[in-house]
Amino acid sequence: MTDWSPASLFWAVVIFLLINAFACLWRGLAGPTLPDRILAVNVIGTKTMVVLVLLGLAREQGIWLDVALVYGLLSFTVTLVASRLLETGLLKGAWRD
């Protein structure tokens, strides 16, 4: 157990998270209302950020952590801008008569 390298565990969790991301993609497609789709985008963004960090550590490259940081910031901004547009009426949801 001394020189156990976690790369296999990290790869397994990466694959598991990608399967979960595809399930969230289905909610993005089938989501009846517009906020469901924005939520699916936000959820996939969070999962992608964690996958990036896991890949970075599985392959011992530190650059992936910076990519994950920027990606986390961007996906947060996307959700905020989308909900702002939804609120000000530029993005019209189907339920608004």
């Binding site: 157990m1 001394t2 156990w4 976690p6 565990l9 990290f10 969790v13 598991f16 998270l17 979960n20 399930a23 969230c24 289905w26 909610r27 089938a30 009846p32 209302t33 906020p35 469901d36 924005i38 939520l39 699916a40 936000n42 959820v43 969070t46 999962k47 950020m49 964690v50 960090v53 896991l54 970075g56 550590l57 530190g62 952590l65 910076d66 994950a68 940081l69 986390g72 910031l73 947060f76 959700t79 905020l80 989308a82 909900s83 702002r84 939804l86 609120e87 009426g89 949801g93 339920w95 608004r96």
Partner: protein, 108 residues
């Protein structure tokens, strides 16, 4: 011996985080309406990602990578709830009515 405990803690945290991600995905898929989904997913994703990143931060130690992962955890714990709140407030303000028991199973 210390390395074994170290590896055990890391793998336990990472697997627990992955389990919370799975619960969040289940909540996203099975809940009947937007508000129930956003409450399930925002909590589970923030916690799941927090656990996974905590395990990775412990694994990569307090050097350069560990500090960056700690920054990621801080960013995540700040941004995920805020995004969920902004989205739910926007949806509510534009008139999306929450699902109630009387609606029965008209949504999928």
């Amino acid at each position: 011996m210390l390395a074994a405990v170290h590896a055990l803690i890391v793998s336990f945290l990472v697997i627990a985080g992955a389990a919370f991600f799975f619960i969040g995905t289940l909540g996203l898929l099975r809940f009947p309406d937007f508000y129930t989904r956003v409450h399930a997913v925002t909590k589970c994703d923030a916690l799941g990602a927090g656990l996974v990143l905590l395990g990775l931060a412990i694994w990569s130690g307090p050097d350069g990578e560990g500090v960056r992962i700690m920054a990621l955890i801080a960013l995540l714990l700040l941004s995920s709830p805020t995004a969920g709140h902004a989205l739910a407030r926007a949806a509510f303000r534009t008139g999306l009515q929450p699902w109630t028991r009387e609606d029965g199973d008209e949504s999928d």
